[in-house]
């Protein structure tokens, strides 16, 4: 954890210095630091996800965990990218990206909705 805090502080210092001298590189350093820290966060999440998958294996929730994991991944990736766009001053791109992310998650949920409606309709047959 200390190393991630250290990396973030180093990136911050570099950005502050670069903003005063070469401001065009400050954005790139900011983007690189964000990508690296996002990758580190995903690496930290991976063992937890693996443990949950092992616990849920064989239960009725197993098929839904995959959908949830994908939805979570889409949400985090879209949020991360949208924030970067807003930091760069492109809020229009950020909002459209969020719209795409929402559509993607709803598309992911369509088979579940079909299953839910089929479950209710199955009571009549």
């Amino acid at each position: 954890m200390i190393k991630y805090c250290g990396a973030a502080i180093c990136a911050l210092i570099a950005i502050i210095i670069l903003k005063g001298q070469k401001s065009e590189f400050a954005g790139i350093v900011s983007l690189a630091a964000a990508v690296l820290l996002f990758g580190a966060a995903a690496a930290e999440f991976y063992p937890t996800l693996k443990l949950m998958r092992g616990l849920i294996e064989g239960t009725s929730f197993e098929s839904y965990l995959g959908t949830l994991t994908k939805a979570l991944g889409i949400t985090l990736a879209v949020q991360f990218s949208a924030e970067l766009c807003r930091d760069a001053g492109e809020s229009a791109i950020a909002s459209k990206l969020e719209l795409v992310g929402k559509a993607e998650i709803i598309l992911l949920c369509l088979p579940l909705l079909r299953e839910l409606i089929g479950l209710a309709a199955g009571f009549m047959t």
């Binding site: 949950m52 616990l55 849920i56 239960t59 009725s60 929730f61 839904y64 965990l65 959908t67 949830l68 939805a71 979570l72 949400t75 985090l76 879209v78 949020q79 949208a82 924030e83 969020e98 992310g101 929402k102 998650i105 709803i106 992911l108 949920c109 579940l112 909705l113 299953e115 839910l116 479950l119 209710a120 309709a121 009571f123 009549m124």
Partner: protein, 378 residues
């Protein structure tokens, strides 16, 4: 004159020399004479395995009837409870796992800053959790439906035996009334299973879905109202059928006994000496028929009880697990999951009411039948 006297004395002496015997009248009739064996053969496959194992070998034997007392039901109940505990524990552990997963997802949602993305992710996670939760209990709906159909089928098969025993005892009117009342009761159960229960479950399920997916809508009151109306209507229908059948059977039994008394009086008056003896013999036969009647009625009660216990115990134990999971969700602050589990608990409560009311209605009908007096004994 002397010759005549000798002939009369010889005739009297010869009459006393004739062998005479009397037939014992302890067990003139048994349930097998009224199709009990055919009934057991016909329902053999429709009964669940665990119930078939528990049924006594000579169910319609008066000796077996005395052995199927409180101890028998306690043993059967414990055995069936043991069988129902496994699936109920699996459902409970799945629900607790889902609660823990929901808690973890809730913690992850806190990391999301965008409100719109949070709302969509909330929708996706709610959908997954709802499907998984309902998946643990949807099998119980089908179990209850098949139980109601099996119960109706078994009673349909027992009805001819009951009617034959009643008719043999001279209770012609009460046989017709009882069979008519039982047919109405069975029709109610069949209609309930096919056209009542599942649509109501579907409606309540739809309301629970809408309520669960949209946190702003509080529709639990509507669902509770629908379930309450259904259970109340079912209870009222069962009570009405039972009350009408009870009074009609009593009145018909009185009419039958009056008819039999009239017949016996006519027989004893019109036929000297032998008429009175015939009336006493009929009373003895009536004792045997009364025993058969009680035995058949009690056997029916045993079958209904053993058929009702497995689904009832499954539903009750699963409901207990759902209530515990609901409490855990409340403690963890998961309001949406708590409301979904509360709806599921309500649906399981309705299933319990349906099972119990159906079984009690039929048990009451059999009790009225068993306790009715044989008209021949009047």
């Amino acid at each position: 004159m002397t010759m005549r006297r000798i002939l009369v004395l010889a005739a009297i002496f010869w009459l006393f020399m004739l062998p005479a015997s009397a037939q014992g009248t302890d067990e003139l009739y048994s349930a097998s004479d009224f199709g009990a064996d055919e009934f057991l053969d016909s329902i053999g496959e429709s009964l669940p395995e665990e119930v078939q194992e528990l049924l006594p070998a000579d169910l319609f034997d008066p000796a077996a009837a005395s052995e199927t007392g409180l101890g028998f039901f306690a043993k059967a109940g414990l055995r069936l409870l043991n069988a129902a505990l496994g699936p109920a524990l699996r459902s409970f552990s799945t629900l607790m796992g889902l609660i823990v997963a929901a808690s973890a997802i809730g913690a992850l949602k806190g990391a999301l800053k965008s409100e719109q993305l949070t709302a969509v992710f909330d929708f996706a996670s709610g959908l997954c959790l709802m499907l998984a939760m309902y998946g643990t209990v949807v099998g119980l709906f089908e179990l209850t439906e098949s139980y109601l159909s099996a119960l109706s089928g078994v009673m349909d098969s027992l009805l001819p035996v009951l009617t034959a025993v009643a008719a043999a005892g001279g209770n012609l009117s009460s046989a017709a009334v009882s069979s008519g009342g039982l047919l109405i009761g069975l029709d109610l159960i069949e209609k309930l299973a096919s056209r009542g229960l599942m649509p109501v479950l579907q409606l309540c399920f739809g309301i629970a879905m809408a309520s669960g997916m949209n946190g702003g809508l509080e529709l639990s009151g509507v669902s509770k109202l629908i379930r309450g109306c259904f259970s109340w209507g079912l209870g009222l229908g069962a009570a009405a059928i039972s009350a009408v059948m009870s009074f009609q059977t009593t009145i018909a039994a009185k009419a039958d006994s009056l008819s039999m008394r009239a017949v016996r009086f006519a027989a004893s008056s019109a036929v000297p000496v032998a008429g009175g003896i015939a009336a006493d013999a009929v009373r003895t036969v009536a004792g045997s028929l009364s025993l058969v009647r009680s035995t058949v009625g009690w056997a029916g009660v045993v079958i209904i009880a053993l058929m009702t216990l497995p689904p009832l115990l499954r539903v009750l134990l699963t409901r207990l697990g759902v209530v515990c999971a609901e409490t855990a969700a409340g403690i963890l602050g998961l309001n949406r999951e708590r409301s979904i589990l509360s709806e599921i608990s309500g649906l399981l409560g309705m299933l319990t009411a349906v099972c119990v009311i159906s079984a009690l209605m039929l048990v009451y009908a059999l009790a009225v039948f068993s306790n009715g007096a044989v008209a021949l004994a009047a």
